[in-house]
Amino acid sequence: MSYLPYVVAVWLLVVGLYGVVTSRNLVHLTQCLAVAQSSSYLLLLAIGFRTGGIAPVFSGVSTGRKAVDPIVQALTLTDVVVSVTISGLLLAISVQVFKRHHSLDPAAGREMQG
């Protein structure tokens, strides 16, 4: 039970990858990729959690209080930004792909073959 959050993170990673692999539409694929990426937020924050700890913000609270790990939160913040920028780029590419190919199916990109 005390490993549930980690298992959920692994689950989300694998499910997200499943979506990426089977996707027939680039916009759909982009959102599956975001799910896979969100698994890392969960993993990091779950690692840094401490039972009974407060958020690492000490406004109006004595600094002696037990708090959760602030470092993983800073890392997750960066991760969230990275995720949204990648989504934005992929969506822009998808729009262009549709303009040229009139399809969003990754299987349509056959001219790369060989």
Partner: protein, 603 residues
């Protein structure tokens, strides 16, 4: 000297910001020149750092956050010779790119320069950082910039497909890296690589460490494009505009490998030390597969850029063989080889760019005989082909010689032959293309090479506008290829690399700091080098000859290869779902192999 450490990152980033914000208000020549000056400044600074780091590593704490009682709380750059050498390589590659693209991208203004400069900053940061998360940040910065550069000429289908595959596969890799880093952080509560290494130095391997190793290593091997993580590379490099492809091929892939070496030696050497044979087996297997598959695929291409992309993959495999020996001489050889080879490959990619620009095609058969008016370019590219085949006594030869030295030490008799095989084929493929394009040799069509694809695709660089001098574009090609050859003549390059390797390998613990024995290039190394060149020339001759007897035998041989070739082509399907599947297969295999190999780990 310490104050210089952050500059290779800060200077290009600051310049990029200025160009992005205000570049459109000044004359475009000014932007061109400014960017070139910034790259030049970076080259000077990184060379100074390289020289300074030969004696001892330079450590720089951002924000002044020095460790407190041995506890690292900030982010450090740790400059040692190998990282600095890669930063020099990045700066030189960028410099050549910017000279080449002087007036190359009139229509889109300053965005190209801005992205290239950010890319330069990211590469330098990646090469010098000593922090695991910071490494990830620069990895992402490099990736995002590279995605944008690949999709640069967005009016065509092929680049976009290449950009999609590149973006998705590399993003999956980044997620895996972050996951692995999370596992390590959960175990050690540290992000500084040396600090993690110190904490793990005396513990044994367990499933968490093994999977963290598999995830992080495979993630960076995706960047390096090692089989089976390589599929995206040929699509992306072939699709990207030539000036961007140079940067990718010359530096970005190599940086992926460098990260693998750095992470292994800094973090995992301690806990995995007693299983070194197992790790060696895994890395050498991957390296050998990569070297052979890349070489075979490169021979099968008729598009120059695609040919070079697969040659890049093949040579990444060779460097991995050097690193995978887990021995300091092999490591030293891999780094020297990689620097020399990076410059040469960069030059060849730019050469392909010149051809596409002047003659409007990147296809070996379309171009047959049409390069006769460009003798300097032809000679340089032929030299480049020979350099890929490790012509003694030049740069690539020195590096390869060291790897062979280490292989002999380790009893890996098959390793020099693998190197030879890959060098003969990749060098031979370049020589074949050069002979056909510049001398008009060989047949005008060859059914065995990948089919001509439907009409216009990746090879059409901007149509040849008259008035751009070929001289200005050819200059960086010569600069890079000759630079790559000259790496072999840096005084005591082999000894210095070996010294640096000893330090690199011992970095986290500073234990068993043995003096490097002076490596030597044996007669066998010269024979192998000469043999590779002769083999490459023979291969080119065989492919181009029209002597009836020989060509008939060649064609009969090709008949036999048809089935395996079509299987290989089928694997490179261009479908991003397939690529991600292979990635997962690779990570799982590496993880499972390591776990099963360390049997006492499994309860």
């Amino acid at each position: 000297m310490h104050a210089l450490v952050p500059l290779p990152v800060i200077v290009p980033l600051a310049a990029a910001v200025v160009i992005a914000g205000f570049g459109k208000f000044v004359h475009s020549r000014l932007v061109d020149l400014g960017a070139i000056l910034v790259a030049l400044a970076d080259a000077v600074i990184t060379v100074m750092l390289l020289l300074a780091s030969l004696g001892h590593s330079l450590t720089y704490w951002y924000g002044g956050w020095q460790p407190v009682h041995g506890l690292t709380i900030g982010i450090a750059f740790v400059v040692q010779p190998f990282g600095a050498a890669l930063a020099v390589l990045a700066s030189l590659g960028t410099l050549a790119t910017l000279i080449f693209s002087y007036r190359y991208f009139e229509e889109v203004g300053a965005l190209f320069h801005m992205l290239v400069l950010v890319f330069l900053g990211a590469m330098c940061g990646f090469a010098m950082t000593g922090d695991l998360f910071n490494l990830f940040v620069f990895f992402e910065l490099m990736s995002v910039t590279a995605f944008a550069l690949t999709a640069y000429r967005s009016d065509e289908a092929a680049p976009l497909q290449g950009a999609v595959n590149f973006t998705v596969v590399n993003t999956v890799a980044a997620i895996l890296i972050l996951f692995g880093m999370g596992l390590l952080y959960g175990r050690t509560d540290a992000l500084n690589m040396a600090a993690i290494g110190r904490q793990l130095a005396h513990v044994g391997a367990d499933p968490l460490l093994v999977m963290a190793f598999a995830l992080i290593t495979c993630g960076y091997l995706v960047k390096a494009a090692v089989v089976p993580f390589h599929f995206w590379l040929a699509d992306a490099y072939a699709a990207a505009p030539a000036p961007a492809a140079v940067l990718f091929a010359a530096v970005m892939s190599d940086l992926g490998l460098y990260a693998v070496a750095e992470i292994y030696w800094t973090i995992f050497d301690g806990p995995f030390g007693q299983h070194a044979n197992l790790i060696r087996g895994v890395l050498l297997t991957l390296g050998m597969l990569t070297a052979m598959l890349g070489a075979v695929m490169s021979v099968l291409q008729r598009k120059l850029k695609r040919l070079l992309a697969f040659a890049t993959i093949s040579h990444i495999g060779l460097f991995l063989l050097g690193i995978g020996l887990l021995d300091n001489v092999g490591l030293a050889g891999a780094i020297v080889y990689l620097c020399a080879d990076g410059l040469v490959k960069g030059g060849l990619f730019l050469g392909a760019g010149v051809l596409a620009y002047r003659l409007g095609s990147g296809d070996e058969f379309d171009l047959r005989g049409r390069g006769s008016g460009l003798p300097v370019l032809g000679t340089t590219m032929a030299l480049g082909g020979l350099a890929l085949a490790t012509l003694p006594p030049f740069g690539t030869f020195v590096g390869k010689g060291l790897i062979e030295d280490a292989a002999a030490e380790a009893g890996a008799w098959w390793l020099p032959w693998t190197l030879l095989f890959a060098e003969v084929l990749t060098g031979g493929a370049v020589l074949r293309a050069t002979g056909r394009i510049f001398l008009g040799l060989g047949a005008a069509a060859d059914p065995e090479l990948s089919e001509p694809q439907d009409d216009e695709d990746e090879d059409d660089e901007p149509e040849n506008p008259p008035g751009r001098s070929a001289t200005l574009m050819t200059f960086p090609v010569v600069l890079l290829v000759v630079g790559g050859l000259l790496v072999g003549f840096i005084p005591h390059v082999a000894d210095r690399a070996a010294d640096a390797a000893v330090r690199f390998v011992a970095r986290p613990t500073l234990l068993d700091h043995t003096a490097a024995q002076s490596p030597h290039l044996s007669t066998a190394a010269y024979l192998f080098g000469a043999g590779a060149c002769a083999g490459a020339l023979a291969f080119a001759f065989l492919s181009l000859t029209r002597i009836r007897r020989v060509s008939a035998a060649r064609d009969r041989g090709a008949e036999w290869l048809r089935l395996p070739v079509s299987v290989l082509h089928g694997l490179h399907s261009g479908h991003v779902g397939d690529y991600v599947t292979w990635l997962v297969v690779g990570v799982t295999s590496v993880g499972a192999a390591c776990l099963l190999g360390m049997t006492h780990v499994v309860p």
